[in-house]
């Protein structure tokens, strides 16, 4: 009995790590920043530089802003994620990346990929951060904290708080 209680959480964790699931969800956030696209890209185009402006990230380390480059994020809540760049296009001020193994403490999703783009808008810039994710538990009866709704709330908050942090860092000329 005691043994089976110990084994159960491990079994669930293993399932979550493998599962990808059949029902993707959208996440999309954007913000305008009173600075030139080049100035915004200087801060945002450094893939592992996210630690300097995202309020949820405690530490970020990376292998470079280039195709195939990776970053390891340590969230302030203790969660850790490894992410890798699929395409890095500085000439278009955009990059696309995907997460590696899920970490439900970091974000309650089993998988996500996203694209980050800085473009000119009026005298300043517009930053778009959009992506696709799968809920934390991809089975038919997910618990509330790993449902589509929980994933949407968490991902939208993660992107939106990040963009607010980027805006503050660029407009205020200082890191968070």
């Amino acid at each position: 009995m005691r043994l089976s209680l110990l084994v159960l959480p491990l079994a669930l964790a293993a399932t979550a790590a493998l599962a990808h699931g059949p029902t993707p969800q959208k996440v999309s956030q954007s913000i305008t920043i009173k600075a030139s696209p080049d100035a915004v890209w200087k801060a945002a185009g450094d893939f592992a530089g996210i630690g300097k402006w995202h309020p949820a990230i405690g530490k970020a380390e990376g292998s470079g802003s280039k195709d195939g480059g990776t970053r390891t994020l340590t969230f302030k809540n203790g969660g850790k994620l490894e992410e890798s760049l699929d395409e890095y296009k500085p000439e278009g001020r955009t990059y696309s990346y995907r997460m590696g193994e899920p970490n439900l403490t970091a974000l309650p999703v089993s998988s996500y990929s996203a694209t980050f783009t800085v473009s000119p808008e009026g005298d300043g810039s517009k930053v778009e951060w959009m992506g696709r994710f799968y809920r934390g538990d991809t089975g038919n009866e997910p618990p509330e904290n790993l449902s589509d709704e929980a994933g949407k709330a968490a991902m939208n908050a993660y992107f939106s708080e990040g963009l607010k942090g980027l805006k503050a860092a660029v407009e205020g000329g200082k890191s968070k």
Binding site: A19, H20, P24, T138
Partner: protein, 314 residues
Amino acid sequence: MIRPALVALFLAPALAGLPVRAATVYVASQQGAQVTRVEAGAVVGHATVAEAPATVAAGGGSVFLSHPDGHAITVTDAATGVVLRRLPYRGQAFGLAASADGRTLFVADWSGHRVDRLSAADGTVEASAETGRDPAHITLDRAGRLYVADRESHQISVFETERMTRLATISVGTAPFALALSPDERRLYVGNVRSNDLTVIDTQALKPLTTVPVGPMPYGVSVSPDGARVLVTNQQAGTVTVLDAGTLAIAATVGVGRYPEGIVIEDGRAYVANWFSDSVSVLDLATLKEVARLPVAEGPRSLAVAAAAKEILR
């Protein structure tokens, strides 16, 4: 050999000046819970269906939709798009394939790690087999063999569908998701989402021939009717890679909408479901250019071609 009587059957409507019905492309929008019908590059109608359809497949005069979160499969009439009935399904239905006569349906149960053979009339499970982990898309050949992309086992499972016994498992790249047969059914092309490549399988030997790079996150595969080109959607890049089937060299990379997923080819055009953009890109196969972008309901992922009425009669 084509018999004169058959030729007459094909030519008769054209000679008599009657309109020949074009094949219809069906597009399933998951978030929008709609099926859109497209003919000759234009939207001709749509129908609301049950919540969150993931995959669409055609067979006989029917079109089928899987509902992974809804324990169900929807059956619609291919000619009109009208919903005919709902088949209950105990598992998490994702990949679908229908027999040519539309009477038998194959369903991949994503979290059940199995594939079922169902009666399309009432959903009765007639036979069932274990697959690898997280079976995604499936495809049926004319001889009755079923190919299953076992996403988290990084392999293709091959079944004979009479008794649902496994003939082979074939190792491919990382996270195979979509697959497509060549028109002569001697090659199976498999898109590997996490290794960003395409595995080519010899279906007679049931062995992999080679694996070639495509773009990031290949989520859809289709082969041109002459077998000369293989088209692959790269979800993470918003592009379609066009490969020469003979050399497997990249002939073109065509920009489409955001997060493209399913792709089908019909009458000289490729149709691509742009999941994030809520649209379908229409590519001209002769010029390899996008010629139209059709708005559809939210979250289009999967497409299927329902044969024209004359082909159903054949």
